[in-house]
Symmetry: C2
Subunit: 199 residues, 2 copies
């Protein structure tokens, strides 16, 4: 029994190696190549252990936040990355990702499949303080990278400051302080000409 269980777990760990090949619109600061979902997920985890003190909810369950962020993008192995400002593709995003969640988490033993699916649903619904902080970090990190690469991803897609502010204001649900910081950085990008103020 343990043998078969461990076999399934190892197969899952190898299957999700594919996350390293799912590329995002955001650029890495050094090479300026597209960031992939695996390294993005690591960067979010790193940001959580540095910035947890700014969560709106004190005494956050940081382990739960990390678990959500470790698995939050696995669905993109099947569903692909949906750019945050691509409203056409965003229409059926949740449906595509829910199908992917069924397949990918379904590779795990039943108890872990239920746990991981529960964490992913919690993250998607922003149903708890932990999910709201995880979602805040998932938006805060791309703002940092975009502001450090002269707004390259925003400019390539003609995204304007009003849309960036509207999308990222959700950071405030998880952390008022990080939202204040992000808003200041976005304003600085407008002031320096890296981000167009409006369409």
């Amino acid at each position: 029994m343990t043998h078969e269980r461990l076999e399934d777990q190892v197969r899952f760990i190898l299957e999700v190696d594919r996350l390293k090949e799912v590329f995002r619109q955001t650029l890495c600061t050094q090479s300026r190549r597209a960031e992939n979902d695996a390294e993005h997920s690591w960067h979010l985890c790193l940001a959580v252990i540095v910035l947890a003190e700014y969560a709106n909810r004190p005494r956050l369950d940081v382990l739960r936040v990390l678990k959500m962020l470790i698995i939050h993008d696995l669905v993109e192995i099947d569903a692909g990355d949906t750019f945050a400002y691509d409203t056409a593709r965003m229409a059926d995003q949740h449906e595509r990702e829910a199908r992917a969640a069924d397949r990918i988490f379904g590779l795990l033993p039943g108890d872990q499949c239920a746990e991981f699916r529960g964490l992913w649903d919690e993250f998607e619904e922003r149903a708890t303080p932990e999910a709201r902080f995880a979602a805040a970090i998932d938006r805060f990190q791309p703002v940092l990278l975009n502001c450090s690469t002269q707004g390259a991803a925003w400019r390539r897609h003609g995204v304007t400051a009003d849309r960036v502010l509207a999308r990222n204001s959700q950071i405030a649900e998880g952390s008022a302080e990080l939202w204040a910081k992000a808003a200041a950085m976005i304003q600085k990008a407008v002031d320096s000409g890296d981000l167009d103020p409006a369409a």
Copy 2:
């Protein structure tokens, strides 16, 4: 004060973006390109939340294990990746990495610098059950990837099974069950001709 603290934390998060450009000898299973340290660190975190039940020590502090693995390779931003079978470069590895730890963790506010340096030292010394399990996962994952890429990294460097077994037997300090699994996979690689039995 909070403002300056957050500035330092953001600067640290952006500095360690460089981890995405530190490449390892191990190959990703899909594209067969070299894996980088950031995506490796994510993959270890994922493996921990799937495999924690196999730790020798029951009731492991999983949050502590994850924190160690999120930061364990940051020193390689300055010190570079040292291939596990490169005995020449391994001679001064710890000295190079300790200097890197001083600089990189030194970017953080004092309390977090101390916390992260403590976690890194704990990991390096394998001083606790958490550190021994983290170190076990840091060896188990490359075995999985190497066995799934026809032993490409081993073969490129002429590494033989006796050395692979000697190095990875340390997995047993963190998890007897994962070591049994790794040893069986290594034997399978020998049987299929992906790994030479001995020099």
